[in-house]
């Protein structure tokens, strides 16, 4: 296992609902929990992953997410079982939408 911590600048999330949980911890998949944070213009992420040595890829995927989505004011916890960046990107979008009240 490897634990990774990141902080990204991001526009404030427009509407916060209850904490949102998305995905499952299964092979090639991941579980994402989005909770309110204390910095309105930053998104903090902690990842526990079974795949070691992909810190740079995680940083790139999350940076792209925080740039293209308003995710400021959140703390995101990820439990990963070797999900590809494609799955991570999709799950992040789903989890954030859920956090904003489930609106598509």
């Amino acid at each position: 296992m490897e634990t990774l911590d990141f902080r990204f600048d991001s526009k404030p999330v427009p509407r916060a609902a209850d904490p949102a949980l998305c995905g499952v911890v299964g092979s090639g998949n991941l579980e994402i929990l989005v909770k309110p944070g204390i910095e309105p213009e930053a998104c903090r992420v902690r990842i526990k992953t079974s795949a070691r040595g992909f810190g740079d890829t995680w940083r790139a995927v999350l940076d792209s997410f925080a740039t293209s989505h308003p995710a400021g004011g959140t703390v995101i916890a990820i439990n990963d079982m070797g999900a590809t960046p494609a799955v991570v990107t999709l799950r992040l979008a789903q989890a954030l939408a859920e956090y904003q009240g489930g609106a598509l």
Partner: protein
């Protein structure tokens, strides 16, 4: 004036006569007792012969292959094998046991690693790796078999053959062999007094043998919808909306895999909601994919011609004779040579997947230590310059590639891949493993499956790159990097140039196509399990036991 050379003009016929005499002298008639097959093979096959062993990725002449491998290398050696697929352990045994030393083939699949080892040990000489139609073509030019060992469903007493739904390669092999002085030996699953239909007439067949068990057939084209991921659903949505709908693709071939299975399962749902029924995907060159059943049942599909059959689909096919090509007896007749011809000249689109793609768009399924071969992909995934008839999809693609005054159209050749495979292996790479493989194998060319200049579009989870609209090698490279996601080559993109390509519609993201990635859920699949497929088929589809989990 030169005098004509004195020579015999019927050496092949004489040789054939001597082989048949040797068989007759051993007491063999047309029907060979199963326990004497090795005696027959040793009587009619000579050292140095070119032998065609029938077998594709579905039907296999497995009994004849095992029997040939059990022949004495003192009697039979230096064989030159020509065969579509090197798939069975006995295929490789021929070389390991010293019966054969040269191979011309198309696909090696599960034996790829053993084959690579034999090549490195110089115990096998590979003539060339072909696409199927190319290999069949050479059967009629410079690789005509002396002996063909084939598989049929049934024979009658005269030696007429019924091939059943898995006709596949048999007609091409038999035609080349029987009409050029060769010997045709068929293993059959059963002997019948009267055949359902005659697929090969008796006078093209020299010997038949009742195999101890039915010939092996691999359910190669069955994909369990339960394993289709949301990312594959997203890519399928982008492909349908961004390519199928835009070009109005009606005639096509799908490669094997979950990416294209997802498209098949979105036709009755997502594509129907977009109003595309009757406008796309009406005519197919395709194996009978079980995942196409919902689209057929929904009225999307008008016609399907098949390379081979698929385990469990026979009853369904028989009951849908308006869709599939079937004989008067009711069962399907497939034909790989004709279906590959349809895939080359009569399809407007090929869409498939690959293991690696470089920055010129060349793709390869070769990986180090394995010689995998190509199958039909290089044929169907190529733009045929001999095509002359027009269609809306072909014309639109041609005008995108060559400008408004184009004098030819263009086939759509689409590669659909997730940017990473399992274990985070990047699909997009600076250099294909094929180049290293070429060096280690001493081959004249790297084993590239589809050439980059034939590829028109690349679909990944990050979007669609339209290579037809690129006007320079630099633009092509950035268009590929621009959909290569978070792979190292994707992250090395020129961001400004990629944004420029996006502004020009050369790269399109899901949002540019009006697709919200969060709507890409498995709920969109018309069937979410093999059991759903059985239900769609009205109980006619009988999946093999390994796909029955209920």
């Amino acid at each position: 004036m030169n005098a004509p050379l004195p020579r015999d003009w019927d050496i092949l016929r004489q040789s054939r006569g001597r082989r048949l005499e040797r068989a007759a002298s051993l007491g063999f008639g047309k029907e060979i007792p199963v326990d004497r097959i090795i005696d027959l093979l040793e009587a009619v096959i000579q050292p140095g012969d070119r032998v065609c062993l029938e077998g594709n990725n579905q039907k296999q002449a497995d009994f004849l292959s095992e029997s040939l491998a059990d022949c004495s290398p003192e009697r039979i050696n230096h064989l030159s094998m020509v065969q579509s697929v090197l798939a069975l352990p006995s295929h490789v045994d021929l070389f390991e046991r010293g019966l054969a030393n040269r191979l011309d083939f198309s696909f090696s699949g599960p034996q790829g690693a053993r084959l690579a080892k034999l090549v490195q040990e110089q115990r096998i000489e590979i003539g060339a790796i072909h696409t199927y139609l190319e290999l069949f073509g050479r059967y009629f030019m410079d690789l005509t078999p002396n002996v063909a060992l084939i598989a049929a469903q049934a024979a009658d007493a005269e030696g007429n053959l019924y091939l059943g739904p898995n006709t596949e390669d048999t007609p091409a092999i038999v035609e080349a062999t029987a009409f050029k002085g060769g010997i045709v030996i068929a293993q059959v699953n059963e002997r019948l007094d009267k055949l359902p239909r005659v697929d090969v007439p008796a006078d093209w067949v020299d010997f038949t043998v009742l195999a101890p068990k039915p010939n092996y057939i691999e359910p190669l084209f069955t994909r369990d919808p339960a394993q289709i991921t949301e990312v594959q659903v997203l890519m399928a949505m982008m492909a349908i909306k961004g390519i199928y709908a835009e070009y109005g693709v009606t005639r096509l071939n799908h490669g094997i895999g979950f990416d294209t299975a997802a498209i098949e399962l979105l036709l009755p749902t997502y594509a129907a909601d977009l109003g595309l029924k009757g406008k796309i995907c009406t005519h197919w060159a395709l194996n009978p994919h079980p995942t196409l059943i919902p689209a057929i049942e929904s009225g999307f599909v008008e016609s399907v011609h098949c390379f081979g059959s698929e385990v469990g689909m026979d009853a369904y096919i028989s009951a849908r004779s308006d869709i599939f090509f079937t004989g008067a007896d009711g069962s399907m007749r497939s034909n790989r040579a004709f279906s590959q011809t349809a895939g080359l000249y009569a399809c407007d689109m090929f869409i498939g997947s690959t293991l690696q793609m470089d920055m010129a768009g060349n793709s390869s399924t070769a990986t180090l230590g394995r010689i995998a071969g190509f199958g039909g992909a290089p044929n169907m995934g190529s733009d045929p310059h001999g095509r002359r008839h027009a269609s809306p999809a072909w014309l639109k693609a041609g005008r995108e590639a060559y400008g408004a005054n184009a004098i030819r159209g263009r086939k759509l050749v689409v590669q659909m891949v997730e940017t990473f495979r399992e274990h985070m292996a990047p699909v997009f790479v600076e250099e294909l493993d094929a180049w290293k493989l070429q060096k280690s194998m001493g081959a004249e060319l790297p084993p590239i499956m589809i050439y980059g200049d034939d590829v028109s579009h690349i679909v990944t989870e990050e979007g669609i790159a339209n290579l037809l609209l690129c006007r320079s090698p630099e633009e092509r490279e950035q268009a590929i990097r621009g959909v290569a996601g978070f792979t190292p080559v994707g992250m090395a993109r020129d961001k400004a140039m990629v944004e420029n390509l996006r502004d020009r519609g050369i790269i399109r993201r899901a949002e540019d196509l009006g697709i919200d990635p969060r709507t890409a859920t498995r709920d969109l699949l018309a069937a979410r399990s093999v059991k759903d497929l059985v239900r769609w088929s009205g109980g006619l589809y009988a999946p093999p036991s390994r796909f029955r989990n209920w």
